[in-house]
């Protein structure tokens, strides 16, 4: 009996063991923390690849700043806001955290943004979509770095409507993020003279999308707007192909990563429109970064992973420029300096915390057009940052209209 109890206890302990790889920092070190989804749905979008990108940036910077060693802390938020927030609080109180990278979940990011503001720690939100991070939930220390629901909708929806896709039907994930995406896209479609025919709200993580897709097809709309992400996005597009819906409707991804396209294969994903902040095959700089990254991770980086590299460098450059890790001074420097690196050209951080930069509207190539591994996108339009991220809304008290 004792042995059995022990066996059960061991199993449960193994199961519940959190994936914590925290280094102990001496007080003089510059501490960069990463709180992200390392084991769940989004672990391939950022996850281990993002940690690698962060470490690449630190190595490229020389491993030290102001003569102090740069160390990192990494943990898994398991997509739970309370875990993200309490881990951040512990690092701020006990480990001398100087800067936080994190995200892949809007809910977790909102919770962490509040703690980061209370502890005065610059927080680079990467991978969380919700634009509320720089509106209702904005803080003086949050920087929304890679993309938000506004820029995604502006990119994909504007381009499709202008190319003749006037009537839209949405397949929307039934939670905050899906609703925000659909709302953002609907506004863009209407503003450009298109029409929103209808929407079906699909429970998160549905195992079968065919019923919902037949409803979309029945609507007679020209465009199938996929207001979902991750596995839901992949499975809905897969089923749309199987049922021949993509031959009558144009699919539009409101959030898709290169890893999703890689999983689905070009046969299924071809013709899809999507918006991204980064693509490895854009220019010499991105290709060089892609090559270095590929050598380590055996895959090309997503926009989040490239964003981790860029955000880490941007922070370290700001610390070097002001000669201190004092958060207020660093934030002031960040908000007045242009950002130029492999990820972004001429980017700048607005008063509300949005990092404004160009976004790229892409169309997925057909298997015949793809000439080498990971040759997945053709550029449809490079959208200027101001157009992609739109004007300041006035919802954030730091940035009145």
């Amino acid at each position: 009996m004792k042995r059995k109890t022990l066996a059960i206890a061991t199993t449960m302990a193994l199961a519940l063991m959190a994936n914590v790889r925290a280094a102990h920092a001496a007080t003089n070190d510059v501490v960069i923390g990463d709180i992200d989804d390392l084991s769940g749905n989004y672990a391939d979008v950022a996850g281990a690849g993002a940690i690698e990108a962060m470490n690449m940036a630190i190595a490229d910077f020389g491993g030290t700043v102001l003569g102090r060693k740069i160390v990192t802390l990494v943990t898994d938020h398991q997509n739970k806001p309370d875990i993200g927030a309490s881990k951040l609080r512990a690092w701020a109180d006990q480990n001398g955290l100087n800067m936080l990278l994190g995200g892949s979940n809007t809910g977790v990011s909102i919770a962490m943004a509040k703690v980061a503001a209370a502890k005065k720690i610059p927080f680079f939100a990467i991978g969380a979509g919700g634009s509320s991070l720089t509106n209702e939930d904005c803080t003086a220390y949050t920087i929304h770095y890679v993309y938000d629901t506004t820029s995604l909708a502006n990119g994909t929806a504007t381009t499709i409507v202008k190319n003749g896709g006037k009537s839209w039907f949405y397949l929307t994930a039934d939670y905050a993020f899906g609703a925000q995406l659909q709302t953002a896209a609907s506004k863009v479609v209407e503003a450009n003279g298109g029409k929103n025919v209808g929407a079906v709200r699909v429970p998160l993580g549905a195992s079968d999308f065919s019923s919902f897709l037949l409803q979309a097809q029945g609507s007679g709309a020209q465009v199938l707007g996929l207001a979902n992400a991750g596995e839901d996005f992949s499975n809905s597009l897969k089923a749309a192909n199987e049922f021949g819906i993509t031959s009558t409707m144009k699919p539009a991804a409101l959030l898709a990563f290169i890893t999703n396209i890689h999983s689905l294969g070009l046969q299924t994903a071809q013709g899809l429109y999507l918006t991204t902040a980064f693509y490895w095959d854009l220019n010499e700089d991105t290709r060089a970064f892609g090559k270095r990254y590929f050598a380590k991770m055996k895959r090309e980086p997503t926009m989040d992973q490239a964003g981790y590299y860029s955000a880490t460098l941007t922070y370290l450059k700001a610390v070097k420029a002001v000669g201190t890790t004092d958060s207020d001074k660093v934030m002031a420097e960040l908000k007045r300096t242009k950002i130029d690196d492999i990820f972004v050209k001429g980017g700048y951080i607005r008063a509300d915390g949005v990092m404004v930069h160009d976004m790229y509207v892409m169309q997925v190539k057909s298997p015949g057009e793809s000439r080498y591994p990971w040759d997945y996108y053709k550029l449809v339009k490079q959208m200027k940052g101001a157009e992609a991220f739109g004007p300041i809304t006035g919802l954030c008290p730091l940035a009145p209209k």
């Binding site: 079968d208 409803q215 992949s234």
Partner: protein, 294 residues
């Protein structure tokens, strides 16, 4: 166009068809659960993980050894069934005769370990498994375009479920299996190797889960978590059908697939909870389930 409750008949027929496809998966998965619970008294929380494992064996076999879909349909359940037998001999056997809660905890732990290992080996974004050549394309049924592969799923499910029911309820082997549950020491005294029988039962149950995994691989993205959300629904199906009732598992699996399909047109937001609402009703009105014995 004729309509029922304002919904065109063609749409209803389409959803009925799709409901049957989803119901086929529910039936196959709940069948394995019912076999394991009915003959061993174990609430197998690892069922979803074995389902995912089946799909990954097919995927890995195709990439590494060039195993095609038809071979995978046989080999993956065999391989996973064997893993099931090992798991039973190593872990579950030790919990025999204890409160069912121990088995539940053990299989839950097993599920986390399997899914964690798959995650470590294959990542979280998933991979595609192609539809076999012979089953590509679609047929026009007049009211909808049905991909041939989905029709194939219904056929396999009905055949496998029917065969399993027949073996357990109508053959000598099935009678022996049921006897092992009723009175193991007596059966052992007759010279039957009961521990082997029990291990084989668990292996057979999880092999059914693996078969469902291979069947679903061409339809959805193969990810480590593909079974974890499904298994909860399947448990509800088993409870509705009556814990351990094989006929109940199959019939309620198909029926709930269809009901869920109709919910998707009437009120899509509720489509993931309708099964649980029905479960609650069944538990109130008929606690042993629709086909269960008091």
């Amino acid at each position: 166009m004729t309509a029922v409750f304002g919904i065109p008949v063609t749409v209803l027929l389409g959803q009925l068809m799709l409901g049957l496809v989803n119901g086929s998966f529910y039936a196959l998965l709940s069948l394995g659960l019912a076999v394991i619970f009915g003959l061993m008294g174990i609430v197998n929380f690892a069922h979803g993980a074995f389902y995912a494992l089946g799909a990954f064996v097919a995927l890995f076999g195709a990439a590494q050894f060039g195993i095609n879909y038809w071979e995978a349909l046989v080999l993956a359940p065999l391989a996973v069934g064997l893993i099931g037998v090992v798991a039973e001999r190593l872990f579950l056997r030790r919990l025999h005769g204890l409160d069912p809660l121990y088995g539940l905890l053990m299989t839950f732990g097993l599920a986390l370990v399997i899914e964690g290992l798959l995650h470590q080996a294959f990542g979280s974004s998933g991979q595609s498994y192609p539809v076999p050549h012979a089953l590509m394309g679609a047929v026009n049924l007049g009211f909808m375009i049905l991909p041939i592969y989905r029709a194939w799923v219904i056929v396999v499910s009905v055949v496998v479920c029917g065969t399993t029911w027949f073996v357990i309820e109508r053959t000598r082997l099935g009678a022996t299996l049921r006897a092992a549950k009723e009175n193991a020491p007596l059966l052992q005294a007759f010279g039957v190797n009961v521990p082997f029988l029990v291990a084989a039962t668990y292996g057979g149950g999880v092999a059914l889960a693996a078969l469902a995994g291979v069947l679903s691989a061409p339809i959805i993205l193969v990810t480590p978590a593909m079974g974890s959300s499904l298994v909860i629904v399947v448990f509800a199906v088993v409870v509705i059908g009556g814990m351990g009732s094989i006929l109940g598992a199959v019939v309620s699996g198909l029926a709930l697939g269809v009901i869920e399909g109709f919910t998707k047109i009437i009120y899509p937001e509720a489509s993931n909870i309708v099964v649980f609402v029905i479960m609650a009703l069944v538990l109130v009105l008929r606690p042993a389930g629709l086909f269960g014995k008091e």
